[in-house]
């Protein structure tokens, strides 16, 4: 987002974001009448229940201002889309008021790119969403976009700066992408400059995908995926990726190990790399004539923190918690506990092994669904129930997500224990 990268004040971000949004649409002003203009606006309320367990809760208990606790609040988000004359753009304007904080506004450009074609070739340049892969809960081969998965409310991702050439015929597609071409080589994660290529081949009931990516500092990775419609009701899919290296976050064991009490003076969590990692997903969707649908997936993410790392993390949490009431400075204990929350952002999956099941039903305008993410290593779970209603122009969504499991399960120690939401979307 514009705001995050520039580090400006909230007001400056809102103004620049809004200008960016207007410029994005203004650039396409001539095409609005002739081609496509659409959008949606969505007011929503999110109620977050803070988790009484976990290192962040313990830190906040010792020093209430030391950690950001989950806050409930209202959000109004408007998405505008326009395209024409070879230009396409999507911008999002957001106003948010969280409990105990001032209202803030921001805006960002999801996409703004120029595209042209010749014969079977298509060329595009600008900020664009480019996603691939075949999974629902996890997409190892999203080598450009790296979308956030299993969000409570569907929203348009934010594209990446890129230059792209693609070739299409009736059953084959090739994509060659230079992503983040102007960013420094040291940028991490999805900001890393990289070259990516994708091949697609349609073969009757099977879609085949091949992927390759070369990152400026993570090096090469290759992947493959397939989606197969096995019969009238059943679709099966699988995705596999091997990475030379992936950006991660890890605790500096030397620093922490050098402290008898476990208390250290600076954040021991630092940028790290996971080397020679594999990611694998298998899954399937079964749907019957009554539109009852069951999705089941299992995946392995070798870039997530290992079982040993989480075990050490739990041990350190216990070690720090045991210092409460001792002569150790409370502020130092609280600070060290708060730093432990860095582990939650180490990779897109918390645990390496994950099982996911979702049952949904389309009944006329109603769409109830329930899903469960389960991490077998520690019996952690995320249970989500939702209900959607779709009208001609209005859609209403409501749901509840609850994190749980045994006390030492990672999912049971996240900052939020439960998240409830209600949202209305008006499309135009």
């Amino acid at each position: 987002m514009i705001a995050k990268r520039t580090g400006m004040s909230v007001k400056q971000r809102a103004v620049i974001g809004g200008l960016g949004a207007l410029l994005a649409l203004g650039a396409c002003g001539a095409c609005l009448a002739a081609d496509e203009f659409s959008g949606q606006t969505r007011p929503s309320w999110t109620e977050q229940g803070a988790n009484p367990n976990g290192p962040l809760a313990q830190a906040a208990g010792l020093n209430s201002g030391i950690a950001t606790v989950p806050r409930s609040g209202a959000t109004l988000e408007t998405e505008l889309r326009a395209s024409g004359h070879g230009l396409s753009g999507t911008v999002t304007l957001q106003q948010q008021r969280l409990e105990g904080t001032a209202a803030r506004s921001k805006a960002w450009v999801n996409e703004l790119y120029a595209a042209t074609g010749s014969g079977g070739w298509q060329f595009s340049a600008g900020k664009r969403i480019v996603a691939g892969d075949v999974g629902y809960g996890f997409r190892p081969n999203d080598v450009v976009q790296q979308e956030t998965r299993r969000t409570l409310l569907a929203s348009t991702a934010e594209g990446r700066p890129l230059l792209m050439a693609e070739y299409f015929d009736a059953s084959t597609a090739w994509s060659f992408v230079a992503v983040n071409p102007s960013k420094p080589r040291a940028q991490r994660g999805a900001e890393e400059p990289a070259f990516a290529a994708r091949m697609y081949q349609r073969d009757g009931a099977v879609d085949w995908h091949g992927f390759a990516r070369y990152g400026a500092h993570t090096g090469g990775s290759i992947g493959a995926a397939a989606a197969w419609v096995a019969n009238d009701a059943l679709e099966l899919h699988a995705s596999l990726r091997y990475l030379n290296a992936a950006d991660s976050t890890a605790i500096d064991t030397a620093t922490v190990g050098g402290s008898a009490t476990g208390i250290v003076r600076s954040n021991p969590w630092a940028d790290a790399k996971v080397r020679h990692a594999t990611q694998l997903l298998i899954g399937g969707t079964w749907t019957n004539a009554e539109q009852l649908s069951v999705l089941a997936e299992a995946w392995w993410d070798g870039t997530a923190l290992s079982d040993a790392q989480w075990s050490d993390w739990n041990a350190r949490n216990r070690q720090l918690a045991a210092l409460v009431g001792t002569p150790a400075p409370t502020a130092a204990v609280a600070g060290n506990l708060a730093w432990q929350a860095n582990a939650f952002g180490a990779s897109s999956n918390l645990r390496r092994t994950n099982l996911f099941m979702r049952v949904s039903w389309t009944l006329d305008k109603w769409q109830p669904a329930i899903d469960l993410l389960y991490t077998p290593a520690d019996a952690g779970r995320t249970l989500t129930a939702s209900l959607g209603w779709q009208g001609d122009r209005v859609r209403v969504d409501a749901g509840l997500r609850v994190y749980g499991g045994p006390g030492d399960a990672v999912l049971a120690q996240l900052p939020a224990r439960r998240v409830a939401y209600v949202a209305g979307t008006w499309s135009f």
Partner: protein
Amino acid sequence: MKTILRSIAAAALALLATHSFAQDVPTLLKAADRYRVGSENMQVDTLISVFNADGSPDKERRYTVFAQAKHQSLVLMQSPAEKGQKVLMLGDDFWLLMPNSQRPLRITPMQKLLGDASTGDIATMSWAEDYTGTVAGLEDCGEPKQPCVHLSLAANRKGVTYQRIELWLGKAKHEPLKAELYVQSDKLAKQARFVTDKAAAPTVVTEMVLQDQLTSKKETRVRYLARKEHSVPEAWLNPMFLARNPALE
């Protein structure tokens, strides 16, 4: 005695007529198709209006359908609630494309049965290509009643929405008048009625009225707003190309 002879003669004539129609079911289907599509490669703008069992309006959706030769169709959702969604049908293979995702979702035939008017209702324009059958008889049908040819049709491929169709065509001009549509389990899913531009001298089907028989009992009116011949470029039928949200109109 005369009455018996007349009855026998009438039955024999009906049998002969049925036999003569039976020899040419494909020709009858091609003739019927011409009232819905004028060419192998078409662009059809469609408005779907759904009414509840009590007649109150339920919802309205607009689609643009590119119906192409060799069982290939592309459906573009145009209503605000679905804007940007696409369904691609290539024979027995189907994909759903969502506007805020850049990947095509491979879907099963069951997932293709969307709502009150399934994508198959909108995109399937050719009985001659997808069905074979027999003449079940000559009957009176329609409002007002008129002589009709009753055809019993079976799908010749698994990807079609309805595996069996009982179809009634006008005897004189072979325009479609009504149909009973059966899903794979051989349950009667919908009853269809076809509205033509001119009852006495029909040239084109302007509306298809579907009565749900399974659950909702709703009535769906499929109005064909505009038709024109349109062969789409090869790449438009590539799911990866469509996932890039290109301009298609």
